[in-house]
């Protein structure tokens, strides 16, 4: 009975604080404080700082600001133009033409940045006007972009996966490597949608692109190649066990700075702008993580997560049913909260549940990223939709409608993950890992 009472109190205070627009990190602290004062005799304030200090000064967390910084640097270079110009000559052969630059561009930028909003702006800034000029239908341009930008959180480095790994104490490197194949499969799904459009809507096809010699194709994409080299260095060094996630991030930052320097877009202004921007984003995530750490401590004292886990266990659900229920749960949660917050907020409760049910936590990390990312392109609160609205000045409802096929594909992706869990677990189980 106490558990039920505790759950009700926690949920009520949580929704009251979050709903009244208190900043997420501080709201979580407030909820945790109420829980500590009501259900334990421990001094709340001291326990809070001990937990927060241990978490905030941890070595594993250092990968977070560095990966953010790497993305920020490349975001401020000419990469946006180069992505489109460099990819276009290679994509024009495919059925569906230059629409594929949206997917390929997002995939590449996702591999240097951990955020889907940054991926969306970088690729969209160039591809939206160029694709419009060439006469591709608007709904295809917007829809594919909205969907593909979610790859930003799937393909390593991914901020959500770092946060997930830190929260449940799992190897970030493993999570990153696990996200690789599912991310590429999702990209392939998006591309096959474009191919299908090409064959089913023949009248919407624009004029084919003019021919281009191989030499000029190489010339156009000369800026793209260093970026690809950087991507392979960062991901490869983690996969082959040469570097920890943090070290790979440091290599990424230095590589990005070098690229920007060679390209001539590194000035003191862009350097300091990228540094300050990264500092702010990292502080934002740190505050949420601190609130979540205190909240899971408070919930741990009430025994709530264990009780819930054994309750779920007692119901004898099959893992598939549990996953289906969690999918619906996260989609609903994602209607009101952003992806990061919904992951950290629920992990204290969900982690014992999935461990009890014998679900692989690495696999679950990939699953949860796909689900919360799907929520980013569904109304009423979908971050990607807001970014796209700012860029295109279309109504939210229109953008959401164009993204529906992508949402369907992402739901299909969840089914694929459930049916073939190996696509997420095979690669991390076969990589060489270094200690630490």
């Amino acid at each position: 009975m106490t558990e039920l009472y505790a759950t009700a109190i926690f949920l009520f205070v949580l929704f009251a604080l979050l709903g009244s627009s208190v900043w997420v990190g501080l709201a979580l602290m407030g909820v945790a404080w109420v829980g500590m004062e009501l259900f334990t005799v421990r001094p709340a304030g001291d326990a809070m700082i001990t937990t927060i200090w241990t978490g905030a000064s941890s070595w594993t967390l250092t990968a977070l600001p560095l990966f953010i910084w790497m993305g920020e640097i490349l975001y401020r270079t000419r990469l946006s133009q180069d992505l489109f110009r460099g990819l276009a000559p290679w994509m024009r052969w495919l059925p569906g033409g230059l629409l594929h630059t949206n997917i390929a561009g997002c995939t590449i930028f996702a591999a240097v940045s951990g955020s889907s909003a940054a991926t969306l702006t970088t690729v969209g800034k160039m591809s939206i006007p160029e694709l419009r000029r060439r006469g591709y239908p608007e709904y295809m341009i917007i829809g594919t972009l909205a969907g593909a930008a979610t790859l930003g959180l799937m393909i390593p480095p991914s901020l959500t996966l770092i946060v997930y790994g830190v929260t449940i104490n799992e190897s970030i490197t493993k999570l990153f490597i696990a996200g690789l194949i599912p991310g590429l499969v999702l990209a392939a799904l998006f591309m096959s949608y474009i191919v299908a459009w090409h064959f089913f809507k023949k009248d919407e096809r624009p004029e084919p692109e003019p021919k281009m010699s191989f030499g000029s194709m190489m010339k156009e994409s000369r800026f793209l190649i260093p970026v690809l080299v950087l991507v392979f260095t960062v991901i490869g060094s983690m996969y082959f066990g040469w570097a920890t996630a943090t070290e790979a991030a440091a290599v990424g930052v230095i590589g990005a700075l070098t690229l920007a320097l060679i390209q001539g877009s590194l000035s003191w202004d862009t350097f300091s702008a990228s540094l300050m921007g990264a500092t702010r984003t990292s502080a934002m995530i740190a505050l949420i993580l601190m609130g979540a750490a205190f909240l899971s401590l408070a919930m741990g004292f009430t025994g709530l997560p264990r009780a819930l886990a054994s309750w779920i266990d007692g119901m004898d659900l099959s893992p598939v049913v549990l996953i289906a229920a969690l999918t619906v749960f996260y989609l609903v949660l994602g209607m009101f909260l952003d992806g990061l917050s919904s992951v950290v907020l629920t992990m204290a409760i969900v982690e014992p549940m999935i461990r009890q049910a014998g679900i692989d936590v690495i696999w679950f990390g990939i699953f949860i990223v796909v689900v919360v990312e799907t929520a980013q392109v569904t109304p009423p609160i979908g971050f990607n939709l807001f970014v796209l609205q700012g860029m295109t000045k279309h109504e939210i409802s229109y953008i959401a409608k164009t993204a529906i096929p992508m949402v369907m594909l992402m739901l299909l992706m969840i089914v694929i993950l459930v049916v073939w869990p190996e696509i997420a677990t095979w690669l991390p189980n076969n990589m060489r890992q270094m200690g630490g």
Partner: protein, 237 residues
């Protein structure tokens, strides 16, 4: 130890929570006076937030340098003792010191369904949310400072292998003592290295959380006086 003992005849909770709330309420009632009194203070505070943010950014560069140094030392076969601890301290510095700066640049996220209904709800919901946030942040800061002091009193040392030079500790000691004692402190500081006392890396935590609390009270007052907060470029979902 009583957490809320009296200072200057008032219990600490009154000083930390009630007085700022009253100040905010008064500034709503006497807007004109507030508009005369506060602006110089606002200019100082804005510089303070920015300075703290820049310090946080430099800690991020420090993380990068430590990790690069760690990789180089591994390749060259030397050891960099306590590199992971130092990177962790720098991480804490980056996060805590940037809180206030991030707040004023709208980087901290929140659910804004109620904020977006109309201007009336925006004002009052925002004021309420900022008040709750300010109280929470003040509580956070109060215990951060307490923990920081306790680490010093209990002479808490690091669990890792990281060491700092004694003269650095002496420097910080001098800041908190009267100039008359500086000579003795400096003379007594050895030239060796000691295991990092935990209070040192915890300093950014105290400073950062205090600044966050101040920034939130500051935003509340600015909202009540000006009708808008100091937060620029917030993406309201």
């Amino acid at each position: 130890m009583n957490d809320w003992q009296s200072i200057l005849g008032l219990p600490l909770w009154a000083l930390l929570f009630v007085i700022p709330t009253l100040l905010a309420a008064l500034s709503l009632i006497y807007r004109k006076t507030a508009l005369r009194v506060f602006p110089p203070l606002w200019r100082v505070l804005d510089r303070l937030y920015l300075a703290s943010g820049m310090l946080a950014a430099s800690f991020m560069c420090v993380i990068l340098l430590i990790i690069v140094a760690q990789m180089i030392s591994r390749w060259t076969g030397t050891t960099f003792q306590g590199s992971t601890e130092f990177a962790g301290y720098a991480m804490a510095g980056t996060s805590f010191l940037a809180f206030a700066h991030a707040l004023n640049h709208g980087a901290h996220i929140r659910v804004s369904i109620l904020l977006n209904i109309n201007d009336f709800t925006k004002f009052w919901v925002d004021a309420g949310a900022t008040l709750i946030a300010a109280i929470t942040a003040t509580y956070f800061a109060r215990y951060a400072v307490k923990t920081n002091f306790l680490s010093d009193i209990l002479n808490d040392r690091t669990q890792g292998q990281d060491q700092v030079p004694e003269w650095l500790l002496a420097l910080f000691n001098m800041i908190t003592s009267s100039p008359a004692d500086w000579g003795t402190i400096w003379a007594n500081a050895g030239s060796g290295w000691v295991y990092t006392p935990v209070w040192l890396p915890q300093l950014p935590m105290s400073i950062g959380t205090i600044l966050l609390a101040i920034a939130l009270w500051d935003n509340l007052v600015r909202l009540l006086v000006n009708g808008k907060t100091n937060i620029v470029g917030e993406i309201l979902e």
